[in-house]
């Protein structure tokens, strides 16, 4: 049944969830930009972030200090990523590997299985929640949990901060140089392998941040990263691999399309609408809305 109020509510809900998914997509696309590989285990880093948030809030800080726990959880995932990268990813560049893409795929899928099964073994079958003392917020006609609203604002802040760091700092300059040309950056004196480590850590840290922010909303359990990973990949296909503004805009588009489809067409096919959008974009612009063709030697 159509009503203007339902339309407005659905649009707001779609924008909010889209922005939250975009954070996940940003991590995937950032890693690809610098390290030139797809990290298939992003959902597991999201999951680790959510578990870190849960443990910090429930056992250490309490729900009122969720905002202290969030950066701590994201930082912990960054550190895990920074430790894993030299072990798993660096060999890709250190050794003369002929098929880097396949290597990256195999290694990150193996990491996915390891982390997921480890979490299942340690955490068991139950779901958890860090809880939230934030009350419901009215965004126009749409009631939204305080936790989701806070996550939305934090995501916007994180995206802005990320953009400023990329544009205004030396590290950001080095990362953008590496994204344009690894060899060019290396000949300019940039330690490209160190940059890979930082980029990988930052990328998975963004996934961990998404997990920490969404923990009170989507609960905490070993496979809670699966669906958000799929959404992340849909977004980078729509927005264009390697494009940061593309990730945000595509995230919003995906969230809105899925929400409107579920509300006004048929709700069981909510996820299908997102894939239809992906197909549509691939038909009209295969590199994604903000992606670019690249030549690779």
């Amino acid at each position: 049944m159509y009503s203007t109020e339902l339309l407005v509510q659905t649009l707001i809900a779609g924008v909010m969830i889209g922005v939250l998914y975009a954070l996940m997509a940003l991590g995937i696309t950032f890693i690809y930009s610098i390290v030139k590989m797809i990290n298939w285990a992003m959902g597991e880093f999201y999951m680790i972030g959510s578990f870190a948030q849960y443990l910090l809030v429930v056992y250490l800080l309490g729900p009122d200090f969720w905002w202290v726990a969030v950066p701590m959880a994201a930082l912990s995932v960054f550190l895990i990523g920074a430790v894993l990268e030299p072990i798993l990813i660096k060999p890709m560049f250190r050794q003369a590997l002929e098929r880097k893409d396949e290597y990256a795929t195999v290694v990150t899928i193996a990491l996915l299985l390891l982390l997921r099964n480890l979490a299942t073994g340690i955490a068991g079958p139950n779901q958890f929640t860090p809880g939230s003392n934030l009350g419901v917020v009215m965004l126009g006609p749409l009631p939204v949990t305080g936790a989701r609203f806070a996550a939305f604002l934090c995501t916007l802040a994180a995206l802005t901060l990320f953009y400023v760091l990329l544009k205004r700092t030396w590290w950001g300059l080095a990362l953008r140089a590496a994204a344009q040309s690894r060899i060019g950056a290396q000949t300019s004196g940039v330690d490209i392998l160190r940059l890979d480590q930082i980029a990988f850590g930052v990328g998975v840290g963004l996934a961990g941040l998404a997990g920490a922010l969404l923990a009170p909303e989507f609960q905490v359990y070993p496979t809670n990263g699966v669906v958000t990973t799929v959404k992340g990949f849909e977004i980078i296909v729509i927005g264009g691999l390697g494009s940061i503004p593309g990730a945000l805009i595509a995230g919003v588009m995906l969230g809105v399309v899925e929400a409107l489809g579920a509300a006004f067409i048929a709700s069981p096919y909510q996820n299908v609408y997102g894939f239809l959008l992906v197909l549509f974009v691939l038909l009209i612009k295969p590199t994604g809305l903000f992606g670019e063709r690249v030549r690779q030697a």
Binding site: A13, T120, P125, P143, V144, A259, A263, P268
Partner: protein
């Protein structure tokens, strides 16, 4: 090299002797297959609870009953269905053809059970559904298919009795698009029509993997129902409760949860603030009388796990006990003999009521159902054992 070769040969002989020894030991055990969800997207909490009961049944048979068929011990062989049909079918094949179990039980997801029964029809090793309620599990009248759980028609009878008792007229069903969700919602529409219950029904379906149901719940809110029936399983069930609270549906609009998830300890950990007021289906209450083996199980469970046994564990226990009793009656591990024993025998389970699997029409074929209760949490952190019993429904027309 000679001493080395001799040593290798000795090791080989010892190993072979060990293997033949274990093969001999294997002949002295009767294997029972337990196919349960132990990882998502299945409901692993349910799987673990069923497993607990099944393991206690093995302990009971081996220590109290002193085995079956002349002293043979029983052994549980566990497989994870993950709640997926393809994985479940592969698991059943392995249990039936490689592990040579006498029967497979533990099923929690209707989709998996239905898919497995299609294969069971060919392979012939019987299945006993522990907690799956879709009609097709027994309605297809496959000889190896049995069930000891409430079925959709009886569950929906309980729903309708509840709506009549409470005077509800507009009912919204929020159902996942699985055999379970679709089965219940369609049965509800069917019985509403056939019994002329006169309810105005809204059916909202969603993908089991969905992480955001705001759009769907806004539609429910716009419908202004008297009651919302939550037909999600596992994480979606919790998502519906939480997001219904956010959009303002709960606590103003009563919600009925379609199965007994609220009796699990984790329910209050997840819904401390919005769990009070929820109605839910249950299949067991401590106020019910247990059989002697049920009482043994309840005591042993409490000692081992520090909490009261709930239905999933009780029925997991009961189903393994039934298969063990069938093996005893049949004096054989041949699947055909086990099926004959199941069809003709009377069995003990946890409830103080005998279990039989009649050759009855429709969905009641090879089916035994426990009574169905609707309980109500009236305050936060309430113990399910003291929850208000709104109604007890004994269904089934044969």
């Amino acid at each position: 090299m000679k001493p080395f070769t001799r040593a290798l040969g000795s090791i080989a002989i010892i190993a072979l002797a060990g293997l033949s020894g274990s093969a001999q030991a294997a002949d002295d055990t009767v294997k029972i297959g337990l196919e349960i969800p132990l990882s998502p997207p299945g409901d692993p909490a349910a799987g673990q609870l069923i497993r607990r009961g099944a393991e206690l049944a093995v302990e009971y048979v081996n220590t109290v009953m002193k085995g079956v068929s002349g002293g043979k011990k029983i052994e549980l062989v566990v497989q994870d269905s993950q709640g997926k049909t393809d994985v479940g079918v592969a698991a059943y094949r392995k249990l039936a053809t490689e592990d040579k179990v006498i029967g497979v039980t533990g099923f929690f997801h209707s989709s998996v059970n239905i898919a497995v029964n299609e294969v069971a029809k060919e392979i012939g090793v019987p299945t006993i559904a522990t907690q799956t309620s879709a009609a097709d599990i027994t309605a297809k009248h496959y000889e190896p298919a049995f069930r000891t759980h409430a079925i959709d028609p009886i569950r929906v009878e309980a729903f309708l009795e509840f709506t009549k008792k409470m005077g509800y007229k507009r009912v919204s069903m929020v159902a996942e698009t699985t055999d379970y969700g679709i089965g219940i919602s369609e049965e509800m529409e069917k019985q509403n029509k056939e019994t002329k219950a006169g309810l105005e029904l809204q059916k909202i379906t969603f993908d089991h993997a969905a992480t955001d149901l705001t759009a769907q719940l806004l539609q429910v809110k716009a419908f202004k129902p008297d009651l919302v029936i939550n037909i999600g399983v596992g994480a979606p069930l919790d998502l519906i409760i939480d997001q219904a609270t956010t959009v303002g549906l709960l606590p103003a609009t009563p919600m009925l949860v379609s199965y007994d998830a609220p009796v699990r300890p984790q329910f209050w950990k997840l819904h401390e603030k919005n769990g009070a007021g929820i109605y839910f289906i249950a299949y067991f209450s401590p106020k019910q009388k247990l059989s002697d083996i049920g009482a043994w199980m309840a005591k042993a469970y409490k000692e081992k796990y520090g909490e009261a046994a709930i239905y999933s564990s009780l029925n997991g226990f009961g189903d393994v006990m039934i298969l063990a009793q069938a093996a005893d009656m049949a004096k054989s591990t041949d699947p055909k003999a086990i099926i004959k024993a199941l069809e003709t025998g009377t069995f003990k389970t946890w409830a103080d009521a005998p279990v039989t699997f009649p050759d009855a029409p429709g969905v009641y074929y090879h089916n035994w159902s426990p009574p169905m209760l609707i309980l109500h949490y009236t305050k936060p952190n309430e113990d399910w054992q003291t929850a208000e019993i709104i109604l007890e429904h004994v269904g089934g027309k044969h």
